[in-house]
Symmetry: D2
Subunit: 385 residues, 4 copies
Amino acid sequence: MTVVSQRIDKKYGTRYAQNVDAYRKHLQKNDLSFAMGLTDVKGDRSLRPSQQKRHQDYYIRIVEERKDGIVVRGAKTHISQAPLCNEILIAPCRAMREDDKAYAVAFGVPANSRGITMISAEPEVHEVNLFDHPIAGSVYINDATIIFEDVFIPNERIFLKGEWDFAGQVAYMFANFHRLSAETYKAMELELFTGAAVLMAEYNGVEKVPHVREKLTWLAMYTEAVEILGRSACEHCISEPDSDLVYPNPMVANICKFYFADNWHQATKYIQDIAGGIMVTCPSGKDFMNPETRDLMDKYLGAREGVPTEHRLRMAKLIRDLTSSYEDVLTIHAEGSLEAQKLSIYALADFDLYKAAAKRAARIQDDAKQSIYSRLPDFPPVGLD
Amino acid sequence: MTVVSQRIDKKYGTRYAQNVDAYRKHLQKNDLSFAMGLTDVKGDRSLRPSQQKRHQDYYIRIVEERKDGIVVRGAKTHISQAPLCNEILIAPCRAMREDDKAYAVAFGVPANSRGITMISAEPEVHEVNLFDHPIAGSVYINDATIIFEDVFIPNERIFLKGEWDFAGQVAYMFANFHRLSAETYKAMELELFTGAAVLMAEYNGVEKVPHVREKLTWLAMYTEAVEILGRSACEHCISEPDSDLVYPNPMVANICKFYFADNWHQATKYIQDIAGGIMVTCPSGKDFMNPETRDLMDKYLGAREGVPTEHRLRMAKLIRDLTSSYEDVLTIHAEGSLEAQKLSIYALADFDLYKAAAKRAARIQDDAKQSIYSRLPDFPPVGLD
Amino acid sequence: MTVVSQRIDKKYGTRYAQNVDAYRKHLQKNDLSFAMGLTDVKGDRSLRPSQQKRHQDYYIRIVEERKDGIVVRGAKTHISQAPLCNEILIAPCRAMREDDKAYAVAFGVPANSRGITMISAEPEVHEVNLFDHPIAGSVYINDATIIFEDVFIPNERIFLKGEWDFAGQVAYMFANFHRLSAETYKAMELELFTGAAVLMAEYNGVEKVPHVREKLTWLAMYTEAVEILGRSACEHCISEPDSDLVYPNPMVANICKFYFADNWHQATKYIQDIAGGIMVTCPSGKDFMNPETRDLMDKYLGAREGVPTEHRLRMAKLIRDLTSSYEDVLTIHAEGSLEAQKLSIYALADFDLYKAAAKRAARIQDDAKQSIYSRLPDFPPVGLD
Amino acid sequence: MTVVSQRIDKKYGTRYAQNVDAYRKHLQKNDLSFAMGLTDVKGDRSLRPSQQKRHQDYYIRIVEERKDGIVVRGAKTHISQAPLCNEILIAPCRAMREDDKAYAVAFGVPANSRGITMISAEPEVHEVNLFDHPIAGSVYINDATIIFEDVFIPNERIFLKGEWDFAGQVAYMFANFHRLSAETYKAMELELFTGAAVLMAEYNGVEKVPHVREKLTWLAMYTEAVEILGRSACEHCISEPDSDLVYPNPMVANICKFYFADNWHQATKYIQDIAGGIMVTCPSGKDFMNPETRDLMDKYLGAREGVPTEHRLRMAKLIRDLTSSYEDVLTIHAEGSLEAQKLSIYALADFDLYKAAAKRAARIQDDAKQSIYSRLPDFPPVGLD
């Protein structure tokens, strides 16, 4: 918002930058946590906000303008940790056209404001049992749908109000940071993911089997490549003109997120292949804690000598949690879907550079001179030679 | 067992075929359900049964021979529905060497025999809630670990006892049927899987988006290819010599199972991409049944006009269940892992035929004449032409 | 043409079936070879035939109608073996609209008719040297561009003339047979392809290296799967109603061709990985025939003991030919591109069946009852259970 | 050689570093070009140098030691540009054991020394025709097999002589630089490769077709990812201890080369899919220069309005050259095969770090504390919570 609010003020003479700045200071001073509400519930995806037929509230919109503020209605969804936050920051999730003007709105609002309802996602598991669910039992991201039924937003908390031509910029600038945020936590997750694969292979006594070693190699490469690409997005960050702000390199950040998400299902296939059926046919940790069954499980569900059976069972359970449909979907859709990254990469690609290189190699002479390749001398005019 | 017991009797003059026949009649007459116990718990996978270091009971073995029968010890695991069956049929899961003789044992036994303990897999879900878990809540395969602590097996129920050179044959013949069994239920599962993808695309209004249409096409192809290949394994079945028994074509059945399992994670990636984040951030069905939240969910979580919100939510939940780690592992490991199919395909491949074809094309003359290609006339001896 | 001409006559009272029949008898009686000219040169692919801007002759069209026949202009391309044939059979390559009426034309014509010019593809190699080019040197498919500059076609050789609504049917019916024709020759090609991989692995002494064995297994599976699917397209052929004609099962034939082409580049990657750099850095066969260099090559370019160096070199050359860009493009584009198969599969898929299955599993009750799944009893109306 | 010669001298008191230094100065002073001869012809790949059965000369070895030097015999292969160089630098291509001592040899030698014979690879094309072969006709890498028949090497040009325990280090240190060298020229090649795909799509009028746009996006991503990873291998280079030398980051360089080569066949499939059959059925440029056929080709082989037909034909020919088997093999095998990269990545991976992360997540307490994860506080000892 900081970057884009300055751009809007420049064009329209608004004072959003000041509002953003004041809001940031408010958050800092009072140590308030906040959630970013970007994704609208969207309704029929083939229709833009103002085209929706069932009702007009599938994207958050301004339903009333008052002297001292606006009233908004609509809903945001998949908003991680929202019910645990003090404040909610709302922004548009897509580019808009003039018809969608009422939907071009951004603001900050206390989470307990009148008119706001949150409905949390169904948790993966319903009891605390960290043996059986070391991830799903300890981390509940609490993705919520936040519904705004005519919520009042005072003027000083408004960061966008009808400037529809900037809605896309807000969404894309957010994505630049958000893609990278995925890479920072995903690189860590992959370290433990790959570690779980290695340990399970060792526990089962198969870590030297060639196809297992090949899969472990692939997992290590996948882990490191995400780390390298994410780091490179920072090292080659972009400076906002006339500003001291930098943001992650969009091309690199998008490639990194795509690479990570595009290979995830391959990674889950590999780790499940290595872990074996015990991942899902393993009895409950409660059976392992039960004196009646513990000794039998301890004797028969062990594997390599020297490895406690408990370690193997805990690792099997960890891998199940790491490859749940929740983790799959988090990978594909959080921080933007695979298609969103493709769109960004397509938009960012320097196709003119590539074309100039190809023309030179094919010995095609051309008037258009737009890239470094064109600044190289042309090959001489030729027939067959 | 029917096929292999005849082979054993032929070689060793045993009378297993008669035992198998009597056991089958016993099952039929009393309408008894039975589970097939194949997979041993295995311990350290780098060691054969008799080499295990921690203890000698990782594969079921004969611990005592009596005049009227044998006493067995060990454990089988991943045995679907075992706790619901009347009888358990036990057979070796791998080829063995002479050292492993005590482990070459097959028999039928009542499930409630003295010395048998079963520990069921932890269920995916712990309550009946078919809105949130239409698959996991209605189908609990009850994969069990079955432990045999010195169980007595009378002579007339023994089908293999120490003939270690036939242990592999029992396992492989079982696999021929078992691979196909996967294909029969998987072809049906893929129909509903692909249907869920189509419906979710339609509900969300994206079924005409090119990348979605491409994925739906791929899913239809995947579904039909599994059907075609499985059917072909039956149509080109193999006759056991000197017998009226046929079994599914092993090459085709293995290719089909491999094709299905190898592409499964691609399929889950596609359906999760189409379904969107709602798959896992959707509130519980209990929230939808709750009058306080129902109307809000109904309004905001709907999509295309004319489609009840409930349909969309139920479909999202179905897709989550269809792409759980349980389903993933069932795909990869049930009926033999990907590597097991590769081993079979490698063993069954007619490499000599392929080699003869390549030699002819490369104009290499060779004395070895072992295939139809070699019965074709050789190209004349040549230098460069 | 036989099938579709009957359909046209039925609708429009034309007598094309009679013409087709007479033409077939003419070909048979005089033992004439003929080439099928389907693919037009097409110009700008984003425009239909009548929309082309540069000129109107990118698709073959009728430029004049006379009492005794028509005059046609345009060009067909990629027409294998055309310059070696007696007759050319021309048909439309796509569905058309009314505007494209002049392009809805099919006919038979002697290859040496006035106004026809053929320009052959540049051959892969320009000398006969079957050591270095065992495939490219012995098989020149002679793909030609056939240009029709105002060629007269007498009435009795016309099989379609302006019935634009049947243009697509001609193309699709041809594809049904053509896809299968690919599978018949490709299944044989894959046998020698896989054989070359096995032999090269053996010659180099790497056939037991795990990653090589894995690749050989995959190649055998690929080879057999193409065979099985192609055979199944015949075994489950479709009968034309009111006719004694059958045609290959379109769904199966399309899946087979797609499976083959979609995996081809994976196969070339594997065989090139196994063959090693010698595939392309090997000196010429002429150097091997040259007494000055033969002994050195024989000594140093050998590999496994007992295998003549000549065999290894010939096999390396064969693999180069098998993985040339010519073979790649033949795989992807001949008999219809990958996208053409996808379009067919999408059109043929029984999505309603899949949807009914998914609805039943998600416990969605619905009025529409269109498939076998709908004939199964519905699950009872439910809330959470 | 500079890095490793110092290490050898340190251990064995030899004076190789001085020889390397003198040789470098000799090359610089006289402006001599040189080729690096690394890959031996290898014979049976399942046997080490000294185990070869057919003869002992499959790897270059010392056959005689004299007071003033050594005599070597053997052959190196795939040595690009060797016949055009003044000097050849020979080094071992693999790790060796004590038995292979005679093969642990490195030296510099004038290319025209007595006893050296070079046999060049068969060129891809045999005439200069840059219309039909813009790449293969203008770039002949002249990969040669260099045979050493008892060549004398004076003491001052020897850099390794029997120190078998350093043979592997020489090979691996070379690979660190060599992998990166691939990335520098491949990143440029991919720019023109992707440019050719874009131009051909535009020429054909299909650049907005969704599946084409998706492929172009993928190609742009592939191109940029190779650039980013290669650059990162430099930015995160490794310092040789006690030396002012740095070398490319081995993990990053290996990941980059693997990523490039592993995706190459996918890239060729995409560009061939976009380019269409004309890539290989296009008549020769000679036909285009021929007045008899030029006008017909110009009229009928054109595509989008405004694009000269010549441009389209040249681009089709360029793509054929870019996807030849030569380019494929260069990608896979030059600078080390895919398997070589996998071995390096496996060897370099920090599996202990990954394992510590996984144990912490699965709440396994362990005595081994070897990574940053282990320095984090353990989770408290737990049963189920």
